[in-house]
């Protein structure tokens, strides 16, 4: 049972960590997902009064001083801080120590879209608005998109592959897919993977306002009266580990990663394509050797925009045929917001909860059925259900699609 698909290694998830608007760790987040709690509120940061969009799923009560010393805070953008906190939780849970050979055989691949966007924002303000001609020496090492991955590698001694993937809203899924492939192929024994985003600052939200796809009042995925997405922030980090390695040391296996596929629409920079999404969904099932009937739950991309939700439902309906009416599909973005490059990582928690705990996180904010989204979207309340296999969808601006398949451990 240790290998599958012609000699490939099996991949276990042995640790998970997070910080997001729903909680500063996994238990708090899972409780909020079970209760259908909404993490969206009035945004609180400098110049927010100049924004048209003033709501978001912001991490509240964040005091980096509780986790990092003064020198570290000077060097870590918020997206790195979030990542390091989530990574520590994940590694602690896994029980792995990366001294010696294991460190050489392990790495980190993370997703982010904006990287150190708060650092860009603060320092542009200093030089343009305040007219200063000098910036702090750590601006570049703080803002670079690979900063979080590099600090994770240093913190835990991961000396194998380490890099960052930036594919907008699919970044985390692409990152986790690559980590999965590396462990499955035997290239690495363990990978820290997932992603983070900290884009809730004046410049970050102002940029999104320009596209006019943001909601001013709420995120209502799949609901006929939905009127746009709501941004969130946070991180999710997981330990993907060679199955035999995990079994031999007696680690608790939270779920098994069994498939991954990616596709490109090659069509439009912002409008999604049902065909492109469907190819990634079908591809992930094929890669996993799963039949459509075996999938019990899909964590949707479900942004709450007019375009995404109907396109995603069309893709799922086509990919699953009759089974589309039997499976459950929910978007948890109405709770934790759209965490952009980190969103797939936070949504992975809902997938693990479905498989391990038999609880399906709901689509909250659901008010009116939409004939173009006529699937079981688990409206407003969590549901108990036994599922053996799940998918996690991510479809990014740029037409980049990435879908992961997981199985109960």
């Amino acid at each position: 049972m240790n290998v599958r698909n012609g000699g490939q290694r099996r991949v276990a998830i042995t640790g998970m960590g997070t910080i997001n608007a729903l909680g500063h760790d996994v238990p708090a987040t899972l409780e909020a997902l079970r209760e259908g709690r909404c993490g969206i509120s009035q945004l609180d940061f400098r110049d927010v009064e100049r924004l048209t969009i003033q709501i978001g799923a912001q991490v509240h009560d964040w005091t980096p001083e509780n986790y990092f010393n003064r020198q570290q805070i000077l060097l870590y953008d918020k997206f790195t801080q979030f990542t390091l906190l989530a990574a520590k939780q994940a590694v602690d849970q896994s029980g792995l120590e990366f001294q010696g050979d294991l460190g050489l055989q392990s790495g980190v691949v993370l997703g982010t879209a904006g990287g150190g966007l708060n650092t860009w924002d603060e320092n542009y303000r200093v030089v343009y608005e305040e007219g200063k001609n000098r910036v702090h020496p750590f601006v570049v090492p703080k803002l670079m998109n690979n900063a979080a991955a590099s600090h994770v590698s240093m913190e835990f001694g991961l000396r194998g592959p380490a890099f960052t993937v930036a594919t907008a809203c699919a970044s985390s899924n692409h990152a986790m897919g690559l980590a999965f492939q590396m462990v499955r192929s035997g290239a690495t024994k363990a990978m820290l993977t997932g992603g983070s985003e900290a884009m809730l600052c004046f410049g970050g939200v102002k940029a999104w306002e320009g596209l006019r796809v943001m909601s001013k009042d709420a995120c209502r995925p799949f609901s006929a009266n939905r009127n746009g997405m709501v941004q969130g922030e946070g991180a999710g980090v997981f330990v993907f580990e060679d199955w035999d390695h995990a079994r031999e040391r007696g680690a608790e296996i939270l779920a098994e990663v069994v498939g991954f596929a990616m596709s490109s629409d090659a069509a439009d920079i912002v409008m999604p394509s049902a065909q492109g999404a469907e190819r990634a969904i079908t591809g992930a099932m094929n890669d996993a050797g799963l039949k459509p009937e075996e999938i019990g739950y899909i964590n949707a991309h479900g942004t709450g925009t007019a375009a995404n939700d109907k396109t995603e439902c069309a893709a799922v309906a086509h990919a699953f045929g009759h089974h589309a009416d039997r499976l459950m599909i929910s978007s948890t973005k109405a709770m934790h917001g759209h965490v952009i490059g980190g969103t797939g990582a936070i949504e992975m928690l809902a997938c693990i909860m479905a498989l391990r705990d038999g609880i399906i996180a709901p689509t909250i904010g659901y008010e009116e059925p939409d004939p173009e989204c006529a699937l079981d979207v688990v409206p407003n309340e969590a549901r108990e259900a036994k599922v053996d296999a799940v998918l996690s969808n991510a479809f990014a601006f740029g037409g980049l699609n990435a879908v992961l398949a997981l199985r109960k451990a």
Partner: protein
């Protein structure tokens, strides 16, 4: 409102749609002129910049927005109203 202003609005929309201003007739719909949702967002931005106004428009629910984009005539009238409100 002045003809000059209506002409300027037509020019701005025409530029976005890569058409001649005369083709932006009052009864033309965005679809008929080949203006998709991203094109409409661009045109609205250009109109806001030109006249220093804020146009209430959400690409997710164009029909529910206070800003009527069903035809070019409706857009021109709505921009005129916003400019007049600003002056008032």
């Amino acid at each position: 409102m002045s003809d000059e202003m209506r002409t300027r609005i037509r020019e701005i929309i025409a530029e976005q749609a890569m058409l001649e201003p005369e083709q932006v007739t009052d009864d033309a719909t965005p679809e008929a002129l080949g203006i998709d949702s991203l094109g409409m967002v661009e045109a609205i931005f250009a109109l806001e910049e030109e006249f220093d106004i804020s146009i209430p428009f959400n690409a997710n629910e164009p029909e529910a927005s206070e800003f009527d984009i069903s035809t070019m005539g409706a857009i021109i009238a709505a921009v005129e109203r916003l400019v007049a409100d600003k002056a008032a």
